[in-house]
């Protein structure tokens, strides 16, 4: 036994959308800051990045907790 928790399809979906959210947030932030900084753009990019990373942190903790360190 590897000790890794099995990921079901819901976990995989959430993991995928979290990665996508974080990447999109980074892209939006980069484009806003490099082209034309604006409050709504920074807010949206920051929110996407933060929310994506927040969700990913759960999977990271779960992976570490299962002995994947």
């Amino acid at each position: 036994m590897s000790g890794q928790p099995a990921l079901n399809w819901v976990d995989r979906y959430r993991l995928g959308t979290s990665v996508l959210m974080a990447l999109l947030g980074a892209v939006v932030l980069y484009r806003v800051l490099s082209a034309a900084p604006s409050l709504p753009g920074v807010l949206l990019g920051g929110a996407l990045l933060a929310f994506g990373l927040y969700r990913l942190s759960f999977y990271w903790k779960r992976w570490r907790g299962a002995g994947g360190r």
């Binding site: 999109l24 806003v32 082209a35 709504p40 753009g41 949206l44 929110a47 929310f51």
Partner: protein, 513 residues
């Protein structure tokens, strides 16, 4: 009366069903709200959605706490009645009922608007009828046909309509996400967003109107709590679904407004207030030719679901109100075969029909309906926040599987109470929007209070006729009811916790004598 002769609502709604019930309502709002908010808040539409969204998050957290603590049909009306008594419970109920009926009318109209993406002749049809100038009766007829379809669907029962919500909602989640990702990657120009922000920021009055219109995205949470009595293991399910829903909808609302202002001038989206998201998707390079029609089709469907949640919500709300002695038991009857509250479905959907007809006597039916919408929501939510705070003091015994964060422990009558700081901030925020509505919504500030007063006159007549007080509450056995609710919901751990808390209270009261 035997159990067989008094049918109850079935607990049929699952985790996914509960999420989709809310998502179908609140997630669809952007399809209707985008054009309306763009027309009002112009280059500041993104900020209008952001401000409204932050308040919405606080409302969502309050509903999550209350709906998981009191998993019964009734939503905000029930919470207010528990916290502030019968009269205010009725006021909140009537305000939210107004919103559900407008929900039916507004989203059926918006759904027809997206159908008209394929029939531009219907979309742009305009005629004069006596004193009514520039009206579009074809669009109005389409909306009425859709409402008729929903009445039939809801009488058939929750199982069928929940399945309908779930499938289409899932497709919509994928589509909205795809539009956002592809739009930001291939079409979005931050320079255009900034240009519109700097040169076409609205006046304060227009911004207030826009941000108060953006608040129409909130009733979905009310829908989840309405569905609580039909949700399996509600205390476990509701916090999970609500929290995911809150952030999903916030991200979508902020994304679409920011994306829209970075792809098209706000005037284009405002001019297409019947199908703004399809217009936006249509303008994305490479995929636009396909994405536009597909989004229009999906928009028409998801908005129909949202209209459907209005029918479902109003029927559940009146079911609860009649159960609590606020309105006639005539509304309480459920269909012996389908177990659905057939009378309330028909009556309040027909009120939606009347609102639809009246709004189509104005040149901008969508704006007229949106104008009326925000009053009921903000009044109801203000009362819900006050109840949240009050219930922390008056009913600390009911288990709360989820609590609004940021609480300050204070001593109150010999015990520690967790005072919800975010509850106070949320209450002030929603009350601020209510003030905005009164200042800027020319129709809503008249129609909203008039509706509440008309409902109150009925309430006073009904209560007097049955020998019940009008401004005071009738005695209720809340503790017995809470035990019955938790038992029916199969939340046995919480039931144990509740009984222990009551026993502890009784022991302490005996000790003090």
């Amino acid at each position: 009366m035997t159990a067989e002769s008094k049918p109850e609502l079935r607990r049929d709604v699952t985790v996914w069903g509960s999420f989709m019930w809310g998502y179908a309502d609140v997630g669809a709002d952007i399809y209707a709200a985008l054009g309306l908010v763009m027309a009002a808040a112009q280059g500041g539409a993104g900020l209008a959605f952001g401000v409204a969204g932050l308040i919405y998050i606080l409302i969502g957290l309050a509903y999550t706490e209350l709906a998981s603590a009191y998993p019964v049909a009734g939503g905000g009306q029930y919470f207010t009645l528990r916290g502030l008594g019968d009269f205010w419970g009725f006021v909140a109920g009537s305000a939210l009922l107004l919103d559900y009926t407008i929900d039916v009318a507004l989203f059926a109209t918006a759904s027809a608007g997206y159908i008209n993406f394929f029939i531009p002749a219907f979309k742009h049809f305009s005629m004069n009828l006596g004193p009514f100038r520039g009206i579009n009766p074809i669009w109005g007829m389409e909306a009425l046909v859709l409402i008729g379809f929903l009445i039939w669907l809801n009488i058939r029962g929750v199982r069928e309509s929940s399945l309908f919500n779930e499938i289409i909602g899932a497709i919509d989640l994928v589509t909205e996400s795809s539009i956002i990702v592809l739009g930001f990657l291939f079409a979005w120009r931050p320079e255009l967003l900034v240009h519109q922000w700097h040169t076409q920021f609205p006046t304060l009055k227009k911004f207030m109107y826009g941000s108060s219109l953006a608040i129409i995205s909130f009733v979905g949470l009310e829908s989840i709590s309405q569905a609580a009595q039909e949700t399996r293991r509600p205390a476990t399910v509701i916090p999970r679904t609500s929290l995911v829903l809150i952030f999903t909808v916030f991200i979508f609302a902020l994304s679409f407004s920011t994306l829209g202002l970075g792809i098209l001038p706000w005037q284009v989206l405002a001019a297409n207030e019947g199908d703004p998201v399809a217009t936006l998707a249509h303008s994305i390079p490479l995929i636009g030719a396909l994405a536009g029609p597909f989004t229009a089709l999906l928009g028409a469907t998801i908005l129909l679901i949202s209209s459907n949640t209005g029918v479902m919500g109003s029927s559940r709300l009146t079911y609860s109100m009649s159960d609590l002695g606020l309105i006639s038991e005539w509304f309480h009857k459920v269909h012996p075969r389908y177990h659905t509250p057939v009378r309330t479905i028909v009556v309040f959907a027909l009120i939606g029909v009347v609102q639809t007809v009246l709004s189509f006597l104005t040149p901008r039916a969508m704006d007229t309906l949106g104008n009326m919408y925000a009053f009921g929501a903000t009044l109801g939510y203000t009362l819900v926040f006050i109840s949240l705070i009050k219930l922390r003091f008056s009913d600390p015994y009911s288990p709360r599987p989820y609590k609004v964060p940021l609480n300050v422990p204070i001593q109150w009558r010999g015990r520690t109470v967790e005072f919800p700081v975010l509850g106070v901030i949320g209450m002030l925020g929603v009350f601020g929007v209510l003030v905005e509505v009164v200042l800027t919504h020319q129709i809503g500030r008249i129609a909203g209070p008039a509706w509440v007063v008309a409902c109150f006159l009925y309430f006073a007549w009904y209560r007097r006729r049955h020998g019940m007080p009008i401004f005071r509450s009738v005695p209720r056995e809340w503790e017995k009811q809470q035990v019955a609710v938790l038992t029916s919901a199969e939340e046995f751990d919480l039931l144990e916790e509740y009984r222990f808390a009551l026993a502890d209270r009784d022991r302490r009261q005996k000790g003090n004598r």
